[in-house]
Subunit: 266 residues, 2 copies
Amino acid sequence: MTVKQLTLPELADNCVEFGVPGVGLWREPVRSYGVPAAARLMRDAGLTVTTLCRGGFLTALAPGERAAALDDNRRAVDEAAALGTTTLVLVSGGLPAGSKDLHGARERIADALAELGPYAEERGVRLALEPLHPMFAADRCVVSTLAQALDLAERFPAEQVGVTVDTYHIWWDDRAPEQIARAGAGGRLLAFQLADWITPLPHGVLNGRGPLGDGAIDLRAWRALAEAAGHTGLIEVELFNEDLWARPGRELFADTVRRFAAHVFD
Amino acid sequence: MTVKQLTLPELADNCVEFGVPGVGLWREPVRSYGVPAAARLMRDAGLTVTTLCRGGFLTALAPGERAAALDDNRRAVDEAAALGTTTLVLVSGGLPAGSKDLHGARERIADALAELGPYAEERGVRLALEPLHPMFAADRCVVSTLAQALDLAERFPAEQVGVTVDTYHIWWDDRAPEQIARAGAGGRLLAFQLADWITPLPHGVLNGRGPLGDGAIDLRAWRALAEAAGHTGLIEVELFNEDLWARPGRELFADTVRRFAAHVFD
């Protein structure tokens, strides 16, 4: 998504050119390209598909909407399995229109995980629940902290449900370091993503993530915490930013690789 | 601030007309009008000044900036005392330019409270530290949860430092209910403010608060929690919203009073 202006073949080429060994994919471009073809493309390029983003949006009250969401998540699991990734990132969903019941919405997520977890496990996929920044609690994700995400995940086997940690969403939280350790100790730290925090936030706040090193987040410190918790997987960079998407994709890719080396490692 | 288009005399008149017994004031209009004159105006109208907003911005690293901030906060304490309110709301401040050290910034707030607390107590004023929504952690307030605010406040006597609870900032936090109880039990729940959460957030996210009842927050439930924690003071409504400020002040005042009755009480 960081370089969404690239086609999937361009993305694979850029990864190979710049020595990036893996890539997190989003469902929409994968489905447009064709799931088997995308799987073949990444495999032929020697790339690991780190995660598929994303399933979720499991908070609907209406039975029809809820059934449709579960169906869609089962499809997402199938797509993840076909791509050869073991991790499907889930963004839980916000409050249904008119509802003020955060607790109820969180319980519906648990109900959905109970249905989806075994389905995913049978296909070798784990569900990686992602807490989103509290500014998204109403309209996108009622799971706002890593502690909440783990409280939900730990109701289920670690072979079924874990968490995604994204620095953009948790950097402000003084409890997050201990929660990363908790996730690691439980074998539930399934994905680790980086983005920096810059202000002012844009209208709608979705597409204002900062290039690595430009913002307030101590990326090295968070990387060290993930490592100390036993995270040995690849690290993703996930930026949503209109200004970045307006730049030539290859140049942005190269800049992101340079920033990753400069701001994430000592 | 909700009706900042009104002059202070208009504000006092509206309070009397609509039966609102008290008002939270901001420093800028009070200083423009003159502190003794504003105090007299509110007293003559029979109004309680619930709080003065705001002191704070105590995270500077440069010694000169830090000394200036402490001076300004002592002036804010003096103004609060002159207005006859016992509560000065503090917004702690964000990260200094270029800093990524949230912990250090939080410790500088504690250092400042150690200097300001006794000064305030001698003048009959308590400092009410306000956690702001995590979306303000970088640029406005490194204290992002009520638990953090209480962790800081409890290092000092309850006669010096307490907290402000604003639904807009804490509504997403599943730990906030227990923290309101903690604040009440410790005699530190000094101010209780209401605003609703609406989306999309505007550019800069500061002036997008929702009119009571229009958003995602269960205001009745939070009011009940504050009452259960022993809050017997007046409740403030604090909306920053460009659209509301563009409306005629008296009409907005009347609408806010109507919404307060409809959405806050059973």
